[in-house]
Amino acid sequence: MEIDYLSAFFFAFLATCGFGFILQVPLKSLQTSGIIGAVGWVVFIHIARTLGHSTAYANFTATIIIALMSEFAARVSKQPVNIYVIPGIIPLVPGLGMYQGMTQIISGHYEYGMNILMHAGSDAGAIAMGMMLVTSIFRMFKITNEQGKVLREKMKKRQ
C-alpha cells in the first residue's frame, strides 16, 4: 500500500499541536513537540503499514525514538521531559482500541471486545516499555550522582 508520508507528517504535526493547546504545552515548546509527535507517527506507519509488522512492535520502536528525541530536546531547552513526551505519544496511544473494545462489550460481544481490549493493552504496554527504557537509561547516570551526594551528606551528619 502506498502511503503519503509527507501529508501524514503534516497532519500528525497539526494533530499534536492541537493536543498541545488542550494540554497547555508552553508556547515556545509547541513546535518541537509537534515535530516529535509527527516523526513518531511516521515511524509508526512505516513499520506497521509499509513493512507490515505488528502494531505493538511499531509502537515500541516509535516510542523509543520519541523518547530519545524528547530527552535531547528537554536537555537543550532545560524543560521537564513530560512537556515533549506526553504530546509526542498522543498519536500512538491506543485510545481508539479501548473505546472500540468498550463499545463491543456494551453491545454484548464480550469475546470480540476483550480481543480488542487486549490488543489495546499490549499496544499501551509497548509504549510504556519504550518510554521506561529510555527514561531509565537517562536516569541511571543522574541518580547515581544525586544519591552519592545525599549519602555523603548523611555520613557527614553522623560523624
Binding site: 499541536c17 492541537g18 488542550i22 481508539l96 479501548m98 456494551i106
Partner: protein, 262 residues
C-alpha cells in the same frame, strides 16, 4: 536555600507541600512529584523526609513520632504542562531565586488558583484541529476532516462550559460521547460524502483516556503500584462512560433521528 535565605524546617515542608499540590493537580505522575519534593527537602537540609504520593493525596512526614506530618487531599486533577514546567524551573533554580518565603508561597498558590491558560477559544480550536487531523490520519477523506473539526470543537466547548458545574467525571465524559455521536450523525445527514465511523473515530480522540492508560502502565513499570492501579482503573472507567454516551446517541438516532431529517 531559597536564594540567599535559609529556610526553617516548617517553611521547607510548607513549600514542599505547595510544590506537590501544583504538580499533582496539573497532571504530573506520582514518581515525579515524589522526586521533586524529596529533592527540594534535601537541598534545604531535611534529609529524613518521607513522601508518599498517590493520585489523590500527598503525605509528607518523617520517621519520628515527634514531628507532625502534612496531609493533603487532591480531588480535581487536570492537565496543564505549563505549570509543571514553571515549577520545574523553580526547583532547579533555587540558588538564583530572588523571592523570599512568603512571596514564593504566594507564587505557588497563585499557580494553583490561576494557572496559565490558552483560554477557551484556543482550547476548543486545538481540540477541533486534532480531531480533524486524526480523522484524516486514521483513514478519512477531507469531508470527514471538516466534519470532525466541527464535532471536536463543539464538544470541547460543551465540556468546558459544563466543567464549571462540577458534575462527576463519569457523566461529563458520557455527555462528551453523546455530543460527539449526535453532531457526527448530523454532519452525515447534511453531507452524504461523510463516513460516520471516520468522523466519530477522529472526534473522540481528544476525550479518550489512552494517555491515562499508558501513564498507568508506566507507573506500574516504575514501581508505583497504587498509582498504576488508580490510573488504569480511571482510564477504563472513562472509556466505559464515553462508550455509553456514544451508544446512547447512536441508539437514539437509530430510533428517532432519521425521521427528523427525511
Amino acid at each position: 536555600m531559597l536564594g540567599k535565605t535559609e529556610l526553617t524546617r516548617e517553611q521547607t515542608w510548607n513549600l514542599a507541600l505547595a510544590i506537590g499540590k501544583v504538580l499533582l493537580k496539573n497532571g504530573a505522575e506520582t514518581s515525579r512529584v515524589e522526586d521533586t519534593i524529596t529533592r527540594f527537602c534535601h537541598s534545604n537540609n531535611c534529609f529524613d523526609v518521607n513522601v508518599f504520593v498517590t493520585p489523590t493525596m500527598i503525605i509528607i512526614g518523617d520517621e519520628t513520632a515527634v514531628n507532625p506530618s502534612l496531609v493533603c487531599r487532591i480531588r480535581w486533577r487536570s492537565n496543564n504542562l505549563s505549570n509543571i514546567s514553571l515549577v520545574n524551573d523553580f526547583t532547579y533554580n533555587l540558588d538564583s531565586w530572588n523571592k523570599n518565603y512568603e512571596e514564593t508561597l504566594d507564587y505557588l498558590n497563585d499557580l494553583l488558583l490561576n494557572p496559565p491558560s490558552y483560554g477557551l477559544a484556543l482550547g476548543c480550536f486545538g481540540s477541533a484541529l486534532s480531531s480533524g487531523c486524526f480523522a484524516y490520519l486514521l483513514g478519512g477523506s477531507f469531508n470527514d476532516l471538516g466534519a470532525a473539526f466541527i464535532t471536536g470543537g463543539v464538544t470541547m466547548l460543551l465540556l468546558k462550559l459544563l466543567s464549571g458545574y462540577r458534575m462527576s467525571v463519569f457523566w461529563e465524559n458520557a455527555v462528551a460521547g453523546l455530543s460527539v455521536g449526535l453532531i457526527a450523525l448530523s454532519c452525515c445527514a447534511v453531507n452524504a460524502d461523510c463516513t460516520r465511523t471516520n468522523i466519530i473515530v477522529g472526534a473522540i480522540m481528544p476525550f479518550l483516556p489512552g494517555l491515562a492508560f499508558t501513564n498507568g502502565l508506566r507507573d506500574y513499570m516504575a514501581g508505583d503500584l497504587i498509582s498504576g492501579n488508580c490510573r488504569t482503573a480511571e482510564a477504563l472507567l472513562f472509556a466505559i462512560s464515553l462508550a455509553i454516551g456514544l451508544a446512547a446517541s447512536l441508539l437514539a438516532w437509530h430510533n428517532w433521528g432519521w425521521a427528523l431529517w427525511r
